[in-house]
Subunit: 330 residues, 2 copies
């Protein structure tokens, strides 16, 4: 038996060595131009993974967190989860004749987004409550899955789930190939993301952190279910992101990527006073291939975090300059 | 290159085959007697992992959740986290001279647990608030780590962290060897467990779910920290367990293990109406080697869940009959 064990170890070592030889020389980030951003990412990964590096980080501490909206997929002209909610209002309207004369629903049904927005935060909360609560968790999962598999962005004609950034998919793969555990930490709804993050990003459900509403356990028709309540549980944005990370991961990441001021605190928490660490900001600079926006944008405003980037040594990715392509299917 | 790839695949396949040959015939659960409990666990694992089984479950759905107190380690004469809190009161007393004349602290310092318990839930909350909040998350982690590395159970003389159940450690290993992801879902404090679960159980921080207090992000002396607040965030017990599982894992387990009525809803949620699934109850029947208690116990009361076990087909592990040994060092 012992000889077989030694032989198994040897065969395994050989297979790893050959795999590393075949991988050698292949670019793990082929959609990234050979600019400073790519080089800084690769230098960091090498610095924390080389056994003889003074900054070597053991595997269980290789934690990377990614914002979703504007960091892994697009977010214009408004968050895709809002598009989901508006589509749901339309789909649910036949069961709610009263919505025809009731804002913000009337505005949604008539395509008058200005009337909707005039209702401010209260209107948004009404829309979210009507579309995201009142069903079981299993029912909501089915609704989201059906939407994400079919809904298309009106301007690009692509499925929303195809509007993910090819260079960021490569970055996720590259980090995982170097034994990082990758997490999403998004202001978006945790249960809106989980049904599709494994297929789309290779990130399993339990590695998704997001905003949430409360739910209640009950036995309904003899079956245990979780009922979604119209009540906020947690807002995973701004100063909520470090709290959400601590709650779900229980440790500080060494790598964080975001694109807006909503990610500022996550970047601070990950990098300030903790070395080695890496902060990355996706800067939307490409109006031709995607959108160009930062300090003045209503969605994904990037202002304070951009000011802070140079002082903190965060890598600001210039989409236009640093990325060869935006979406996978181009 | 292509030939090297094929060679690598071949070498890898050989290494897996040899590894499986060396594993063949070894008992993965050597501390379990050859009784019905052990057989039912093994039959279930085989049923969901054999490729040609009609009940085959893909790897990403092989989720197993374990209660901690009384399921993975002992919990008598009271939860070990309470022992931690009482030890903290004593350690902090020099900075709190007022505690000498103030219940529940006076009772703790004088070893008069009856006086403490007379204060009921309010007294317990005061003790938890005084010992678990007011510091940063990093500071609390250091305090817990120091305690768990040194504190001993007054009756057994063992370190608390040595009072884990050897058969359950084997069960965790066995499930992981069959590509299950193992989680703790405990009524205990999430941040009390995370510093030591990887070393003790092989369960990483992000796979620990528990009760929690709120925390607030702030920059203190130029450094980003999380400050622990004296305010309950979530109680991960009873009907809270399915909610906690849904929040952290985002999916239903197919295997759940508990030992008390606090785990009843988790067992329901995992098994009722969902097949294949497995529910396991650790029944404390061994007054000689551990403790014997169930329906009348104040700590770890097992009553309704025990009544329900037969109807639901849950496996009730009889510690005295089913386990060859209790703790690893025996």
């Amino acid at each position: 038996m012992n000889n077989l064990r030694i032989l198994a170890s040897f065969a395994f070592a050989v297979s790893l060595w050959i795999a590393s030889v075949t991988a050698w020389g292949q670019d793990p980030l082929p959609s990234w131009n050979d600019t400073a951003s790519k080089k800084s990412v690769q230098a960091f990964v090498e610095r924390v993974t080389r056994q003889d590096s003074p900054d070597f980080v053991p595997v269980e501490r290789r934690i990377a967190t990614f914002d979703n909206d504007g960091t892994l997929w697009s977010e214009q002209p408004y968050y895709f989860q809002l598009a989901f909610a508006l589509d749901r209002i339309k789909a649910m309207a036949p069961d709610h004749p009263e919505w025809k004369n009731q804002q913000p629903f009337q505005g949604v049904l008539e395509g008058d987004l200005k009337a909707v927005m005039a209702g401010g935060e209260k209107a948004l909360i009404e829309i979210i409550a009507a579309t995201h609560s009142g069903m079981t968790a299993d029912e909501f999962e089915q609704i989201v899955t059906q939407w994400i598999d079919t809904a298309k962005h009106p301007q690009t004609g692509k499925l929303y789930k195809q509007m993910v950034y090819q260079p960021m998919l490569e970055l996720l793969d590259y980090l995982r190939a170097n034994d990082f555990k990758t997490f999403i930490v998004s202001g978006g709804g945790i249960e809106f993301m989980r049904p599709w993050t494994l297929e789309t990003y290779g990130i399993p459900r339990e590695q998704v952190v997001g905003s949430s509403i409360k739910s209640r356990y009950e036995i309904r028709d003899g079956k245990p279910v979780l009922v979604r309540l119209p009540e906020v549980n947690f807002i995973d944005d701004k100063e909520g992101k470090p709290v959400g990370i601590h709650m779900h991961l229980g440790q500080r990441p060494i790598f964080a990527a975001g694109n807006s001021d909503g990610d500022w605190q996550m970047l601070q928490y990950t990098t300030i006073g903790h070395s080695p660490s890496f902060g990355l900001i996706v800067h939307h600079t490409d109006a031709d291939r995607e959108w160009a926006y930062d300090r003045q944008s209503h969605v994904g405003r990037l202002d304070q975090a951009l000011d802070d980037a140079q002082q903190q040594g965060w890598t600001v990715v210039d989409m236009k300059r640093d990325w060869k392509m935006i979406y996978p299917s181009e």
